[in-house]
Symmetry: C2
Subunit: 347 residues, 2 copies
């Protein structure tokens, strides 16, 4: 899932995203709550209509951004008080208000409000944080069940851009529990007891070694049902998404393809290319000769290098299109391999 | 002609420019000479190949940028010494080196090296400057005639992206002479004596009142042949391009549509829209209900306002696409009116 923080995958128009074959985008509740505001988007018929995106959208709960962008946050059992990174104004997110925000945005998949446990953290802290997330998951579900018919595109006055026999959102639960197998198991089992149509593995990619991430994913997956979507949050590199798909992960999101693109770091079938390097200044070849995206089929490395070196906005646009295309091609190959019954042998 | 200073119309991919129906782009010799360098582009087969643009390109002579971006320039009969706005390094443009640069870039239409007379300027200064431009026009033509077969896409080793029975460039002359009818007449007559396949009116849009611009254009046009392209440099607003086309101008270039777009100023059939204004925050309508561009047919004013207010790069991309579309539609209407024999009655 490409990340479209502020109702936009930075630099790329929605018609190009559709053409790339993107099926689902991620929007950040925290950012959209601050700008343009949930009420504004709700009045305009929800995020799909607002950003003219007819395919699926998932919104995160806002929790991760509150934790990663706010050093002055204050966490209580009730919720989190935080300051806007834009103007310093004070705000409060609780499981209830995070649900209200996501219902108002009207994404197809919304996430329970959780606390993302920092790394490293001692055992007592990890347990306390996990208990908080479980309590918030309970409250998230309760609020959602009572208010899920308030989704803006569910109202008669708005035509839903998504045709569905059951025009409601899906609320996913999030597994926390730090880096240990025991607490992850407990978190998974107790989140399953609450019951959600999909489950996410949160609290990873927070600074721990990559090997540990994989261990935690593997041990957590053992406790998640295979007939419900399993979503690994905030992962990863092209190599990692192949590995995790092979392990059984169904959904992933990451800013890496889009953020790296803005820094001139491009993923290709021959490995990473830092397009800013002067070695590409006279290189007439395509960025990736195995890629058929609209960038690789039209432009040379020399031109992409020139755009980046000259700080041209088109550099960001084209680099993002290519990296997204590379990620989508990677996942298409994974799906193809799974369909052929080869599964993890693709690795 | 949209302006693509550094081999890119800022933020817009060439496939979108083609789709908009753009037939010719302008590239700035001064900027391309500094980055990535003429020799680099020449080695890569010329500007068409470098930027993957199969349609026509016009390059300016570099003179105007040297004059407008360099306060420390030194002008002699021989040429102009100037400092790079990027790193302060010293460079020299003469009619000969400006021709060499433009031949190396390989645009379809290239411009004689001229001095853009500042405004206001006294009579003696204007005459001296006009004489310099005439002398440089002579030298430009001489150098061009001797070297025009060195265009990179004219060589066997490169396939020309432009199919032409006469694969050579066209060198246009530039009329100067300040704001008075007498010197403009003299400049036109003596430039015609040198002889070019097209003529530009330069030295306007340099700070003079708009009424004066029109007077000078009208008086200069009287002395230019109607069977050769007449190009008014650096003009103008949507209203102005209609007026000047009605007067007989065949070509115009201006940064206005693209630069205004980057500042959130959008041209519509209902007049100018400053999309940053909060009045558009909840506006579900299209930017211009009479426009069928990919922006107006997909996005709302509310979304465009959000992108601009949030400093999203997509704001620049979409705003630029719309403004270019509006300019092209305007010129299409002008051509239609001329084809119907209504000419200036369109005004």
């Amino acid at each position: 899932m490409p990340v479209g923080t502020l109702a936009s995958v930075k630099g790329v128009s929605q018609d190009v995203l559709e053409e790339l074959g993107i099926q689902i985008l991620l929007g950040n509740t925290y950012h959209l709550y601050l700008r343009p505001g949930v009420e504004q988007i709700r009045k305009l018929g929800g995020l799909h209509r607002f950003m003219a995106w007819p395919r699926a959208i998932l919104t995160d709960s806002g929790g991760f951004q509150v934790f990663s962008l706010n050093e002055l946050r204050k966490v209580t059992e009730e919720g989190v008080t935080f300051r806007s990174h834009l103007d310093g104004s004070s705000h409060f997110f609780s499981p209830e208000s995070a649900m209200a925000a996501q219902i108002g945005l009207g994404a197809d998949v919304i996430m329970a409000f959780d606390e993302c446990t920092e790394y490293p953290a001692d055992a007592e802290r990890v347990r306390r944080s996990m208990e908080l997330t479980l309590s918030w998951a309970q409250r998230s579900k309760k609020y959602f069940e009572q208010h899920k018919n308030e989704v803006p595109w569910n109202r008669v006055s708005f035509q839903s851009p998504v045709s569905s026999p059951d025009p409601s959102q899906a609320l996913f639960g999030i597994i926390q529990g730090g880096m240990g197998a025991a607490l992850r198991k407990e978190s998974a089992e107790r989140t399953l007891e609450i019951g959600f149509p999909g489950y996410a593995i949160g609290g990873l990619s927070v600074g721990e070694p990559r090997g540990l991430t994989r261990e935690v994913v593997e041990s957590t997956l053992e406790h998640l049902p295979t007939d419900k979507p399993r979503y690994l949050m905030g992962v990863g590199t092209p190599e990692e998404i192949v590995v995790y798909a092979g392990l059984g992960i169904d959904m992933m999101d990451c800013v890496l393809p889009t953020r790296a693109a803005r820094h001139g770091l491009l993923f290709t079938s021959q490995g990473k290319v830092s397009i800013k390097q002067s070695r590409y200044a006279g290189d007439e070849g395509p960025l990736d000769s195995k890629c058929s995206c609209r960038v690789c089929s039209r432009y040379s490395r020399a031109y992409l290098r020139h755009l980046y070196a000259s700080n041209e906005v088109l550099a960001q646009v084209l680099n993002t299109v290519h990296n997204l295309s590379f990620y989508l091609d990677t996942m298409r190959a994974v799906r193809h391999s799974i369909a052929l019954g080869r599964g993890a042998r693709f690795l």
